[in-house]
Amino acid sequence: MPMETWLPVVWFGVIGFGVLMYVVLDGFVLGLGILAPFADDGEQLDLMMNTAAPIWDGNETWLVLGGVGLLAAFPTAYALVLSALYLPVLLMLVALVFRGVAFEFRFKAGSTKWLWGWAFALGSLCTAFWQGVILGALVEGMPVQEGRYIGGLLSWFSPFSMLTGAAVVFGYALLGSTWLILKTEGDLQRTARVLTRPLVLVVSVFMGLVSAWLPFLDSRVMERWFEDGNFWWLSPVPALTLLTAVGLWRAAMAEGRDARPFVLTLCFFALGFVGLVLGIWPYLVPPSLTIWEASAPASSQGFMLAGVVVLLPVVLGYTVWSYRVFRGKILAGQGYHH
């Protein structure tokens, strides 16, 4: 098989992996911000932020890897998507700026501390929403002619993209609440447990809605799932998703197994991600750009891939190490006041 055939496939996998890593890792940090209004007081919010303070920066770096990986491997798709979704991307980036600096500013702010509590909450909420909108607009497809985007400033606005925007907000909130079950005890953990069950329900409904809607957006999705007996091959995906949701519902209130809800939520997200990819493949920008059409030349994809193969395991290695350094519960009255 020539390089030009399989390199784009490998790169689709690499970028998919990067995006999934970003979604689950920054997802739970953004979820903490979305859940910030449920904190009893400033001290509880300190606690929530402290569970992520040493690792948020590394988590956010996966977004940069996704963006830059797209530029390197699929420059045409990078150029098309970002300029077409100009406004959602802008608003997501600005929200991320406020969310990020809130971590550093809040503990140093003095009388303006409240401001950065709000920046954390609203920044996280808006980042999540706009990421969902970007996802929805991408899956739905955008008006492209001869490789150029021909829609307007607001063509991403649709019922479907609003639905995915809301879905991602609740999905991240679920990641955040199960992370808190893992990392905290006492009142805050109880709050997180109480929030988890309704969130499981809401996220399952959103997943169902998106899954039901997708085949009607695009006939290819319909064919992929429901022709040639494909459904039987693919049915483990929705079946496992459903099982995971049930397991989550039960695990949410089970005392003593504090890691299980978070792990199940990770599976939940991974399955949802697989479902989406099955709908999109082999397009990067449905329905106009396949991964082969959007690809950089093999000289670039190959060079960068060599770097990924050598360096990504190293990155994953020290990332795991840093999570181990900061393992365990964060207790009230302690904190990272650096």
Binding site: E60, M304, V325
Partner: protein, 467 residues
């Protein structure tokens, strides 16, 4: 509205804001590694107090650098999509290697550096500090390679207007890269050096934190005495390299409009008011022949003049010309201050030289100003090209309407004003407070039960400072 002009303003705005933070944290992370090393070697508490003090400043600056950097990595697509599409195969992998070799390294070890004091053995903590410092330098390597390639592109072939790489070695080690890398890295270290010296001068003027301030002032003096002359040399070599590859940029820096008759020699223009329209200088003050001697190292040498190119191929001369003079003036002032401090030190009067302390205090932001001026010189000086000689800036812009770009520019200005206004205020306040004896360590327990304690002393005093 003109989407091209607005996109240029927006890119200039976000990149100028962004560059200030890495420029500071590159040097600061090495400074922190030095402080921690001194503490481990001497067990002198002053070093440890200084470490924790500068660590807080570092955390805030680094955070602002990270968030403004994420904006940068998406700007190419949102506003410069034609550039991204055509050159992505070259620049994407360079930035990709930056993420894989530097960004993850910095971000992950930063967490341990900030919060791991009680969680990892002290040698491992020191290693984390070193990894963060190493990450900032590796990041400088890749980003300047990418930037230099846009100035002096090579190692590629054009396929339907798209840049395809034929040799990665030639792309990465393009002709202007070594010079730019050295010049920018030294600039970043000097920026930090003058902040440290400036803070020391400030404390000595106030009569506070005298012992740490004396140490910082001495270290800043030694560093500046070695590195400022090196930087002037590096700048000169970088300039000669630019004469070779981008002669019009140097002509704009020198205000050199007309080709002179053979044997006349090029003057060094000290001051003038360049007039792009009439293609000449007004109110010119110049030293005969010196320009040729500096740029060509010969008595009657001259470089290609601005009149050798059509008006459409010229950079905006006045901003390049002024920014260059500002950068050079700061370089000379840095050298003078370093030498004066060295002399006073030898006389044993460094601690009582009140005037010098004031000079250091006033020079605190000088590195930032010099970096921005240098940045304007090199980036405006290569206009109208975004990839020199190959792709014009005007062709590279996205097909996004002027109104959209005006809106985004407004949002960026507003958001950055709030975020970086507060951020700078917090940094200044922490600097004003200074290192406390027995600076409290960042607390890192969690997992084991330890008694609850109120906010640390550092935060408490900041609260008071805010009221």
């Amino acid at each position: 509205m003109d989407a091209l002009l607005l996109s240029r303003i927006q890119f200039g705005f976000v990149v100028s804001f962004h560059v200030l933070f890495p420029a500071f944290t590159i040097g600061l992370s090495s400074w922190l590694a030095f402080l921690e090393y001194r503490w481990l070697r001497t067990r002198d508490a002053v070093w440890k107090d200084l470490y924790f003090f500068w660590l807080k400043i570092f955390a805030v600056s680094f955070g602002m650098g990270v968030v403004s950097g994420i904006v940068m990595s998406f700007q190419f697509g949102t506003n410069w999509s034609v550039f991204a599409e055509r050159a992505g195969a070259v620049l994407g992998p360079l930035l990709g290697f930056e993420v894989l070799t530097a960004f993850f390294l910095e971000a992950t070890f930063l967490g341990v550096m900030l919060f791991g004091w009680n969680r990892v053995p002290e040698r491992l903590h020191f290693l984390s500090t070193c990894m963060v410092a190493l990450g900032t330098v590796i990041s400088t390597f890749w980003i300047l390679s990418a930037n230099s390639w846009m100035h002096t592109p090579q190692g590629y072939e054009l396929v339907d207007g798209f840049f395809h790489v034929s040799s990665w070695r030639e792309v990465i080690f393009n002709p202007s890269f070594p010079y730019r890398l050295v010049h920018m890295t030294l600039a970043a270290f000097l920026t930090t050096c003058f902040v440290i010296g400036g803070v020391a001068g400030w404390y000595l003027r106030k009569g506070e934190h005298v012992e740490p301030a004396r140490r910082m002032l001495r270290l800043a003096t030694i560093f500046a005495l070695i590195v400022v002359p090196l930087q002037i040399l590096a700048g000169d070599l970088h300039g000669l390299n630019t004469v070779k590859h981008q002669p019009l940029k140097v002509a704009a820096m020198e205000g050199h409009w007309e080709q002179l008759p053979e044997g006349e020699g090029m003057p060094l223009v000290l001051w003038a008011v360049p007039d792009q329209e009439k293609r000449t200088n007004h109110q010119q003050i110049a030293i005969p022949r010196l320009g040729g001697i500096i740029l060509t190292h010969s008595w009657d040498g001259q470089i290609e003049a601005l009149d050798s190119a059509p008006p459409d191929d010229l950079p905006p001369v006045a901003p390049v010309f002024y920014a260059f003079r500002l950068m050079v003036a700061i370089g000379i002032a840095m050298l003078a201050l370093a030498v004066a401090s060295g002399v006073r030190w030898r006389q044993g009067r460094l601690d009582s030289a009140r005037g010098l302390h004031l000079a250091w205090k006033l020079m605190l932001p000088s590195g930032f100003v010099a970096i921005l001026s240098g940045w304007f010189v090199t980036e405006l000086g290569r206009q109208p090209w975004v990839i020199y000689g190959q792709l014009r800036t005007a062709e590279a812009v996205s097909q996004v309407g002027g109104a959209s770009v005006a809106l985004s520019l407004g949002i960026y200005i507003l958001a950055y004003a709030v975020v970086f206004g507060f951020g700078s205020a917090y940094i200044l306040r922490m600097l004003g407070r200074g290192p406390l004896p027995h600076e409290p360590e960042p607390e890192t327990e969690g997992g084991e039960r330890t008694p609850a304690r109120p906010l640390s002393a550092a935060d408490a005093s900041l609260e008071e400072g805010a009221r």
